[in-house]
Structures are given as structure tokens and as C-alpha cells.
């Protein structure tokens, strides 16, 4: 998977640089995140943080193509005790949508890498939770006209994902490794984020991923973007893990032609 992603990133850089870049932006914003893992607790662990975005987007006559890097950081605590969890989540996306009409674009997004890392104060083996996934998503973008300007609304639904989560029902090892009886101290791939051991393909019905995004340009340079990201999956039946993130990002278009 690492090789696939690296090769694609190189290809992407070459491809995107081939375009007359329509829009290149950077953004900074704030977020609110929440988390519940019913394997361990029913508490809702909630927090606030900061986010960063960098992206390239090309709107052509018949297609909308883009690449973005988003990094989220937040600090979460439950309401009933003081120990906090820091959450770090870098996400890399590439999307390619076909124009259906002047307002609607439909296509796909490759969520190349979605890395979700949690570190909880005071815990030992379960103090760190890691999740890596690479997902294919169905995407739609709709431009609502607002006078001379437009409000861009986007939605992505995960179809299938290649995922690896660090924690099983109880122990800190990927669930498929334990279910297959393959745990071995000498297999370092088990505990590495992108190692093959314990990675699996999960379809939408086993792993719900939903992204929504609203973007409005105040001017040629300045935009505001609101995002909502949701993920819900189960390692063990009836013990789902759910996490979400709401983020508002102010973007500055370095290039916008």
C-alpha cells in the first residue's frame, strides 16, 4: 500500500503541475471533534482544536479535479474526568468529478490516506490508538448560485476502504490478526501503522464514512469552508467506534485564475 500511495503521489504532482493551476490554497481553522469506542466505554469524548489545509483545484470545462492535504489536531476530554486525549489526523485526498450540468459534478474521491492517531494521558498499552485507511468514495459537488457568487456544497460517501486499526476487542493488536490466530512478537508489521498484517478491506456497510463540505468565496482570495466528517465502524459486532469532526477553515487562495 505504501508503494501504491508513493507512486500515486508522484504521478499526482506531475499531473497537477501539468494543469494551468486554477486554484491553490492554504487554510487555517478551528474544529470540534468527538469520539466514542463502545468496546471500552460509552462516554463521549469531546474536544476542540486547530486545522490546516493545503489544496489544488482545477475546474475545467468538463471536469473538476483536485488534491488536498488536511491536518486536524484536537484535545479531547470526557465530561466526567480530567485525563485528556490528543488527536492528530492528517488526511490526503485526490478527487476527479465529471460535469453533469453547470451546477452539478459527480465522480469519485480517493481518500489516499486518512491517519487517525489518539494518545490518552496516563494509559499504558491502550494509551495510543492508531488507524490507517485508504478509501474510495463517491463524490458529488453542487454549486448553488448566490448572485454573482456560488456556494460550493460537496458530499463524499465511502464505498470501500483498505483499513488497519491498532486495537482489537481488548488488546492493542489489529483484530484480524487475533481472529486469524496470527499474533507473533517477531512480526513487526502487526504494530506498524501501514504494515500489511491486520489490514483489511471494508465495504460501506461495515465502515461508514461520510464527509460534507460547504465552501464560500468572499473574494478571489478569501474563502470560508465548513466540513463535517463522520466515521462509524465495528471491530466487534454491537461495539461500534464512532468519531466525527466539525471544522471551519478560512482559506487563502495563493493562486486563483
Amino acid at each position: 500500500m505504501q508503494r501504491v500511495i508513493t507512486s500515486f503521489m508522484l504521478l499526482l504532482v506531475l499531473t497537477m503541475s501539468g494543469y494551468a493551476q486554477k486554484k491553490v490554497y492554504v487554510g487555517l481553522g478551528v474544529n470540534r471533534s468527538s469520539f466514542q469506542d463502545q468496546k471500552f466505554s460509552d462516554l463521549h469524548i469531546v474536544g476542540n482544536g486547530l486545522n490546516f489545509q493545503y489544496g489544488i483545484e482545477k475546474l475545467k470545462e468538463k471536469k473538476l479535479v483536485g488534491f488536498d492535504l488536511q491536518v486536524f489536531y484536537s484535545n479531547e476530554t470526557p465530561s466526567t474526568y480530567k485525563y485528556s486525549t490528543s488527536v492528530f489526523r492528517p488526511v490526503i485526498n485526490y478527487y476527479h468529478l465529471r460535469k453533469i450540468n453547470d451546477r452539478l459534478f459527480i465522480g469519485g474521491k480517493w481518500n489516499i490516506a486518512d491517519i487517525y492517531l489518539r494518545t490518552t494521558e496516563g494509559l499504558g498499552n491502550n494509551g495510543s490508538y492508531m488507524d490507517f485507511s485508504s478509501n474510495l468514495m463517491a463524490s458529488a459537488v453542487y454549486y448553488f448560485p448566490l448572485g454573482k457568487k456560488k456556494l460550493k456544497a460537496a458530499i463524499d460517501l465511502g464505498l470501500i476502504g483498505y483499513t488497519k486499526s491498532s486495537t482489537s476487542f481488548a488488546y492493542k493488536a489489529p483484530h484480524p490478526v487475533l481472529v486469524d490466530g496470527k499474533f507473533n512478537m517477531q512480526n513487526s508489521s502487526i504494530n506498524t501503522l501501514m504494515g500489511k498484517a491486520g489490514a483489511e478491506f471494508k465495504p460501506v456497510w461495515d465502515d461508514i464514512r461520510l464527509n460534507m463540505e460547504l465552501t464560500y468565496a468572499f473574494s478571489k482570495r478569501l474563502e470560508v469552508c465548513y466540513q463535517w466528517k463522520l466515521r462509524r465502524y465495528s471491530t466487534v459486532k454491537n461495539y461500534p467506534t464512532t468519531y466525527g469532526m466539525n471544522a471551519v477553515t478560512f482559506r487563502y487562495n495563493i493562486k486563483n485564475r
Binding site: F40, D42, F169, A170, Y171
Partner: protein, 356 residues
């Protein structure tokens, strides 16, 4: 004006969606004494991997205790009741603490099983320094100090009057020993006729490091037993992971006689080391019964912030022994603490190594 309206729409959308994912989550639990008790019972019942081996009837125990749980009882009273569950597991890896271990104070509420209780000391540092590894008696001691500089990560030397016997002391697996350092130690001991590997006082640390070290003693692929993991909430939700270890890829593997010295402190990752080398014919255990602690540990917080840890697997070795309560060494030797002129365990190991 229109732009302000758009900004408002975005803000309203943001507010509307904030916490939307929380609607999909199960409701926030009510936090009270009964709920905290029930949560802990559920965790032990679903996650603890050795209820059967430890002969704990968690249903009967929790039903008996729950009758006494009220929402107006004090924090201390509740903790004592819940601590009875922890103690019933007789497992040094399973604990219930008012605060995480690193923040424990004398006044903190804590329930941890004392696996050392009732066992005599199997190691005396004073005797070791005076007769074997102190500067006055041995100038050849190599040592990697612990990170804080106050202890020993690993030490290796020959013993006085026994130049051909290597002695390696590993008091912990909790501090990193690099691959190159391991190589250096095994390269040094290559020409020795035998090894005394002193594992006494080693309460564990990193099981991967312990396994890496053990792999230098293997001659070929070695079946060491299996680890039985709890993989679901039901009573029978277990899966065995059989273990076959491969020798280290090194020119410095050690296949001569090895005496592993053990005592009751040998626990957790130190047990991992022991079961990894136990099937080897050239390895013999000398000393006292070990501590065990063979299970992998999971931990977390209860809804009121109390810390819990539980063994969520158990290890059954190649001989079919459940290792969580420790094992008897091949050659039992008790240390005479009154006689500080010699360490009986080391002396017995020397005798064994000098046998043809």
C-alpha cells in the same frame, strides 16, 4: 450584506452539524456508583481472559457485591467493594486504581494483587556486588546504564575465577537495548563455554525486546506454545495464536549451555523470555518459582476516571503449562540471605556449566 448572510449560513450549518455524530453514538451514561460498578463488572466479564483458569465465578461474585452497592455510599466504600473483584483475579497485571499508575500517591486508592507475597527473596544485590560484579572483585564488568543513570539496563562480564563463563544480568526489559548492543554482547560471549543469564528481579517491560533477545538462543524454528486472546464479549470468545519463533539473523547465535536464573520477580515480559527459550535443550532454569504474568494487558478508564487494567490473553507454553502463576525452575535453589559470601543460585549454575 449578502456575504454576511452567507457567513451566517455557514455558521448556522456548522452549529447544526456540531455533535451530529453524537446522535449516532450510544447515549452518554449516567455516572453514579451503581453504574460505575456495573461498568467494571462488564469489563472484567467480557475482557478478562483467565476467569476459568483462576476459577473466578464473576457472576456470583458480582451479584453478591452488587447487593451492597448504593449511590450514596462513599467513594472509598465503593472502591473497596470493586477491589474485591480485582483481588479475586490473583493477577499482578490486573489492577484498579483511583488515578493512573504514574500519578499514584500513598493516599490514592489502589487495588493490585501482590504476587510476591509469601515468596522468599531470590536475589541479594549486596551479595552480588561483594562477590561477583562489584568493582573491588571484578574489573571486567561491561554495563549499559539505565536511562536515568541510576540503575542497570544490562551488564555482562565473566565471573571471578571463571573466565570461560559468561554472566549477563538483565534486570529489566523496560529499557531499550539496541540491535547493535545485543550483537555486541552476543559477539563477546561467543567464545565462552557457557552462559549464566541472570533474569532475577526482572519484572518485565517490552515483550518484543525479550523475544528478540531470546531469538539469539534458537537453533531453528521453535514452537513455544500459544497465546489465547479474548476476541469478543462472550464467555467462549477466544482465539489461540500459536507461536513459532525464528532464530535471529546473526552470526553470533549462542547454542552452548545456558543457565537462566529466576526468582519470583520474573514477571510479564520476563516470562515471555522464559517461555521463548524453555523448549531449548541447552537452556536450564535455576532458582525459585517465577511470578508469571503471562497475559497481555489492556487498560482504560472507568466512567468516573478510575484506572483499570486487565489481562486479556493468557499464555500456555509448549509443555502445556498455564504460565500466569509462574513456573517451577528445572533446578530449584533457595538463596541463603544470611550468608553473603556467595549466591547459591549462581554457584549452582556454575556447577551445572562445569559438568561435562
Amino acid at each position: 450584506m449578502k456575504q454576511i448572510r452567507i457567513l451566517l449560513i455557514t455558521v448556522i450549518a456548522a452549529i447544526a452539524f456540531v455533535g451530529c455524530e453524537e446522535a449516532l453514538m450510544s447515549p452518554k451514561p449516567k455516572v453514579n456508583n451503581i453504574a460505575v460498578f456495573d461498568e467494571y463488572v462488564k469489563l472484567v466479564k467480557e475482557k478478562y481472559a483467565m476467569l476459568e483458569f483462576k476459577q473466578v465465578d464473576i457472576d456470583a461474585l458480582s451479584q453478591r457485591l452488587r447487593k451492597d452497592i448504593t449511590n450514596d455510599m462513599s467513594k472509598k466504600e465503593l472502591f473497596e467493594k470493586m477491589g474485591e473483584i480485582t483481588q479475586s483475579l490473583k493477577d499482578g497485571h490486573s489492577s484498579l486504581l483511583e488515578v493512573p499508575e504514574a500519578q499514584l500517591a500513598e493516599t490514592s486508592l489502589a487495588s493490585q494483587y501482590d504476587f510476591l507475597k509469601g515468596y522468599p527473596a531470590g536475589f541479594d544485590l549486596e551479595t552480588m556486588l561483594r562477590n561477583y560484579i562489584g568493582k573491588d572483585v571484578n574489573k571486567n564488568v561491561n554495563m549499559i546504564p539505565s536511562e536515568n543513570g541510576e540503575g542497570v539496563r544490562i551488564a555482562w562480564t565473566t565471573l571471578p575465577k571463571h573466565d570461560n563463563i559468561a554472566y549477563v544480568w538483565v534486570p529489566t526489559w523496560n529499557e531499550e537495548i539496541s540491535m547493535s548492543q545485543i550483537e555486541e554482547i552476543f559477539a563477546w560471549m561467543k567464545d565462552k563455554k557457557g552462559l549464566i543469564l541472570d533474569m532475577r528481579q526482572n519484572t518485565g517491560g517490552d515483550p518484543e525486546l525479550a523475544t528478540r533477545f531470546a531469538s539469539y538462543f534458537l537453533k531453528g524454528d521453535t514452537k513455544t506454545g500459544f497465546e489465547r486472546f479474548k476476541i469478543g464479549p462472550a464467555k467462549g470468545d477466544f482465539k489461540d495464536s500459536p507461536t513459532t519463533l525464528k532464530p535471529a539473523k546473526s552470526e553470533n547465535l549462542f547454542h552452548k549451555k545456558v543457565m537462566v536464573l529466576v526468582d519470583r520477580y520474573v514477571y510479564s515480559a520476563a516470562t515471555t523470555f522464559c517461555y521463548s527459550v524453555d523448549p531449548l535443550e541447552h537452556v536450564t532454569f535455576v532458582g525459585q518459582r517465577t511470578g508469571g504474568g503471562s497475559g497481555a494487558v489492556a487498560d482504560g478508564y472507568l466512567m468516573n476516571g478510575w484506572y483499570w487494567s486487565l489481562s486479556v490473553s493468557e499464555y500456555i507454553d509448549a509443555r502445556g503449562r498455564h504460565l500466569d502463576n509462574g513456573f517451577e525452575p528445572d533446578i530449584p535453589v533457595v538463596l541463603d540471605l544470611k550468608d553473603q559470601t556467595k549466591d547459591e543460585v549462581i554457584e549452582r549454575a556454575i556447577v551445572e556449566l562445569n559438568k561435562q
